[in-house]
Symmetry: C2
Subunit: 163 residues, 2 copies
């Protein structure tokens, strides 16, 4: 199997077909993955960036619930299967060269999508307009409270963050 | 130089420090890149997904204008240098495990960010809730008109889309 195409999806024949056609012909990288950006359908807030393999992309299309590929656990990942915080897909889009997907979702339960407990994975801002060495130790928290206790929700499941 | 760290940024010492600290300690992949999601500051619309190397990340922080690493041209890419459609960063965030960045931007000129001429790179939707084989040839255009003519703006610059 080609690393960049999957039998379940269309072929990539020309730049024009990929960019301006009606055929879903995603380009998976050399790990067999495509990037997925997930935003809250109601607020537009960026919740997370994940990755999908061909199976996760197909499952998401078929079920209307977000599925990813867990790079740390190396398995198909039905988001919310452990935490209950499933993501119902309201709209799904693909980009010009078809190497990235955008999901607009409604999140079940507390509405959180971050394993640390925050609503969004992007809970810290980076100051801009100054030399990098002044920004390095100046991340600012933009969410003040966790929406759930990760220890209670995940128990002994290994933390997916890798150093 | 480590592939996962850069001297310009902080060290990645523990999961807790990476996730809950104030130190910018991005994790670059084995290509030296980090994913970057760029949304319109005013509407929340997803404009593009790009990639940054350490230099692009530093330049973005220092100048407040979006810089990426072009994977097709293999160079630092000051977005808008050719088209005039520069992206002024309103807010910059980083995610829990620090392997993805979020830029909220104001785009100059026509407000477009897609080399095909559309406002957003994500101008096509994928139908959901049906078998994949029924979705494959059913991409739907969500933007009806291009905001500029790519041939006029880019001339003979090679198209970045790769098959």
């Amino acid at each position: 199997m080609s690393t960049s195409q999957s039998p379940a999806f269309g072929p990539r024949t020309t730049v024009e077909q990929v960019e301006e056609g009606h055929t879903l012909a995603p380009k998976f990288d050399d790990q067999g993955l495509i990037a997925c950006v997930t935003t809250a359908a109601d607020t537009g807030e960026l919740l997370m960036v994940g990755y999908m393999n061909a199976e996760a992309l197909a499952k998401t299309i078929e079920t209307g619930e977000a599925h990813y590929y867990s790079r740390s656990r190396k398995v198909l990942w039905h988001k919310g299967a452990t935490s209950g915080l499933t993501q119902k897909v309201v709209e799904m889009r693909i980009d010009d060269d078809q190497d990235a997907v955008w999901l607009r979702v409604d999140v079940a339960g507390t509405g959180a999508s971050c394993h640390v407990g925050f609503r969004s994975c992007f809970y810290r801002s980076i100051p801009i307009g100054q030399p990098v060495d002044q920004a390095v130790d100046a991340l600012k928290f933009e969410e003040s409270e966790k929406t759930f206790d990760p220890k209670k929700v995940y128990g002994d499941v290994p933390n997916p963050t890798q150093l």
